[in-house]
Amino acid sequence: MDLNSSLPLGNLQCEQKVLKNTDGSAMYTAGETNVLVGVYGPADCKESKQDVKQAVVEVNFRPKIGIPGVAEKYMEKFVCKICESVILRSFHPRTAFSVIVQVMQDQGSLLSCAINAVSMALQDAGISMRCMPVAVTVALQKKEKEDNEMKDDSKKFVISPSTKDEEESVAIATFVFDSAQYDSISAYACGPMTSDEYRECLRLAKEASKHIVRFFRDSVSRKVSTDIR
C-alpha cells in the first residue's frame, strides 16, 4: 500500500483564543484547508430548547460563499452528533453549547479539518469532555496506468486528500476517533469499496490520527507551559 509516510497530513497549524467574544476559539489549518471555530458554553439557553437532564449542543456550519444549505445541514448534524457524544453534557443541565464553524478555505478534507478545529476550540473553552475527537480523511484512488501491471483492482490510499485528490478518487472516508483509546466515534464513507479496503482505510486513518493527537498535545503544552508551578 502506498503511503507517503513522511508527510501524511500536510502542514498542521492551530491557533487558539483567536476570537475575543467567544468562550473558546481555534483557527485550525491542515494542509491548505483552513477552518475557524468559535464555541460558547455552557451558556444560557431558551426555555423552549432546554433539556433538564443534559446540555443542548447546536452547531452552525457556515460556508465561505453563498448561504448555508442542505449540505451544510448534513455537516452540522454530523459535527453536532460528535460534540454530543464527547461533551460531558450531564454536568451542565439546562444550558447550551453553541459551536460555530466558519470555513475559511476549503482545499480538501474539509470535514476532518472542521472536526479537529472543533476539538481544539472545545478544548480551548475548557469544556469538560470525555475525550477529544480527532478526525482523518482518507481517499481511495484507482492506481494510475503504470501501476496496473501489478494488480488490476489495487487501489491507492491518500491521507488528507486535497480537492484535486478528492475529485480523482472513487471513495472518500472520514473517520473520527477518540483521543484516548482510538476507538471510532463517527464515520462517514462514501463511494464503493470492499470491506478489506474499508478496514485498510480505517487502519491508515488510525495511524494518522495518532500524529494529530500528538499535535493536539503539543499545542496544549505550548499554551500552558508558562503556568507558574
Binding site: L19, E32, P42, A43, R62, F91
Partner: protein
C-alpha cells in the same frame, strides 16, 4: 441558479431560531470610567485619541479572499463571480452584490439567520461607498449586451466584533475586490466560452478608486474625538461620524450616527483626518497585495499575513494637520489629544513617585480578596474606618490564604470525590 437575494430571503424566513448566548452585562462602573478616562485622553488600550489599532491583512489561496484584523475586530471578505443576465434597466453592465454575514461567532447577540440593524447598516454603507461611488467598473463585466454579464458577489463575513466593524469591513471588501480575478471569456459567434484559470490568465476587476471608511467617535458632548473606537467605546460614545474617502480626498459617503451636535468645522476636521488615514490605508493595502502577488509568483501558496502597525500615523497626522492649521476649536482638541503623549507607560512611574517610601505587600484578606498598597484613606485597617470608596468595610485579614477553592471539602469520606466545577457543592 436562483437569484441569491431571493434565496437569502427564503433562508431567513425558514431558518429556525438559533441559540444565542447572553451578551455580558455592561456596568455603570465601566461606563463612568471609560468616559472619565477619555475626557483625560486615556483609552483602555493605551492608544492616543487619533491612533489606529494594529491592522493585519492576510490573503487566502483563492483569488479575492482577504481577512482583515483591526485589533480584535476581524472580518473576512470573499469575492465570487457568476455568469448571469444583466439587469434590464442596465443591459450593458454587470452587477455587484454585497452580502454581509454576521454569525454568533463574532458576537453573542448576532443572529446568523438575520443580519439585524448593524448588519443591514454595514451592507448599506458598503453598497453606498463601493457601488454608488462607481469604484468598480461594472461595464467591463458585460460579456454581451442584454444577454450575458458577470455578477460579482462580495461576501463579507464578520468574524469578531470589537468595535469599528465598518472600517474593517470596508478595508476587507476593497482589498478583496482589488485582489480578485475572474475567468477570461471568449465570445465565438453564439457561444460563450469561459476559460479555466489554467487556460488563460484570469482578469482582475477594474477598481477605479478605493473608498475606505474611517470612523470617528465623539464623546462627552462632542468635546472629545477618537478615531477607531472599540466596542466599549462605541457603547459610551455620543455618536460617530463615518466617512468614506479615497486617497484623492474624494468623499464618497458621510454618515452620522447617534445624537450629536457638531459644528461644520468639526466635520471638516474629521474629513481631513479621514483623508490622511485613507491615504495610509491605501498604501498599506496596495503593499499587502503586492507582497501577496510576489509570494504567489514565488510559488508560496501559504496565505501570508501582512501585519502593519501604522507607527508613524500619529506623526503624519500631526504634520498634515499643522500644515492645514486652522484656528478652529476642534483642531485644538485634536491637536491636544495628539500632544498628550504623556499618556504612556511612565504614567505608572508618576504614580510610583507619589507614593510613600515604605513598600506595601499584598495583603490577602480571605481567599478571594487581596489588596495592595495604601489605597485611599486607610481602607483596610480592619478597624471599621470608613473607606471613601465604601468597599472594604471591616475586612478581616485573618483567614489563612489558600491556594485553591477546590482544596476545601476535607470532610468528604469517599475514596474518590468528584469535585468538578459544576458538581461542586459541599
Amino acid at each position: 441558479m436562483m437569484p441569491i437575494n431571493l434565496l437569502l430571503k427564503l433562508y431567513k424566513l425558514f431558518h429556525g431560531i438559533t441559540i444565542m448566548p447572553r451578551t455580558p452585562a455592561f456596568s455603570k462602573l465601566e461606563h463612568e470610567f471609560l468616559l472619565k478616562a477619555i475626557s483625560t485622553g486615556v483609552r483602555l488600550d493605551q492608544r492616543d485619541m487619533l491612533e489606529y489599532r494594529k491592522i493585519g491583512i492576510s490573503f487566502g489561496i483563492d483569488y479575492g479572499c482577504c481577512t482583515v484584523e483591526i485589533g480584535e475586530t476581524k472580518v473576512m471578505a470573499q469575492v465570487a463571480a457568476e455568469m448571469d443576465r444583466p439587469r434590464e434597466s442596465r443591459p450593458s453592465e454587470g452587477r455587484l452584490n454585497v452580502h454581509v454575514e454576521m454569525s454568533t461567532i463574532a458576537f453573542p447577540s448576532f443572529d446568523p439567520t438575520k443580519p439585524g440593524e448593524l448588519g443591514v447598516g454595514i451592507q448599506r454603507m458598503l453598497e453606498r461607498s463601493i457601488i454608488l461611488s462607481r469604484a468598480v467598473d461594472l461595464e467591463a463585466l458585460c460579456v454581451r449586451v442584454g444577454e450575458k454579464s458577470w455578477t460579482i458577489h462580495l461576501h463579507v463575513h464578520v468574524l469578531s466584533h470589537d468595535g469599528n466593524l465598518i472600517d474593517c469591513a470596508s478595508i476587507a471588501a476593497i482589498t478583496a475586490l482589488k485582489h480578485f480575478r475572474y475567468p477570461d471569456v471568449s465570445v465565438i459567434g453564439q457561444d460563450i466560452v469561459i476559460h479555466t484559470m489554467e487556460e488563460k490568465h484570469p482578469i482582475p476587476l477594474t477598481v477605479h478608486h478605493m473608498p475606505l471608511y474611517v470612523s470617528l467617535a465623539f464623546f462627552k458632548g462632542c468635546e472629545r474625538l477618537a478615531i477607531d473606537p472599540t466596542y466599549l467605546e462605541e457603547k459610551v460614545m455620543d455618536g460617530k461620524i463615518i466617512l468614506s474617502i479615497n486617497k484623492h480626498k474624494e468623499l464618497c459617503s458621510l454618515q452620522m450616527n447617534g445624537q450629536m451636535n457638531i459644528t461644520k468645522e468639526q466635520i471638516l476636521r474629521c474629513t481631513e483626518i479621514a483623508a490622511v488615514r485613507a491615504k495610509t490605508l491605501t498604501e498599506l493595502i496596495l503593499n499587502a497585495i503586492k507582497t501577496d502577488t510576489d509570494d504567489k509568483k514565488l510559488g508560496k501558496t501559504k496565505s501570508q499575513t501582512v501585519l502593519e502597525k501604522s507607527k508613524d500615523n500619529k506623526e503624519i497626522l500631526k504634520s498634515e494637520l499643522t500644515v492645514n492649521s486652522q484656528t478652529s476649536e476642534e483642531i485644538q482638541i485634536a491637536n491636544m489629544s495628539i500632544n498628550e503623549d504623556a499618556v504612556t507607560d511612565d504614567a505608572i512611574k508618576n504614580g510610583h513617585n507619589n507614593k510613600t517610601e515604605k513598600p506595601y505587600w499584598l495583603t490577602q484578606h480571605d481567599r478571594q480578596t487581596c489588596s495592595i498598597g495604601d489605597g485611599k484613606v486607610n481602607a483596610w485597617s480592619g478597624d471599621g474606618a470608613e473607606s471613601s470608596l465604601g468597599i472594604f468595610k471591616a475586612l478581616r485579614a485573618d483567614t489563612q490564604p489558600e491556594e485553591k477553592s477546590e482544596d476545601e471539602n476535607e470532610d468528604s469520606e469517599e475514596e474518590v470525590v468528584i469535585l468538578d466545577d459544576s458538581a461542586l457543592e459541599t
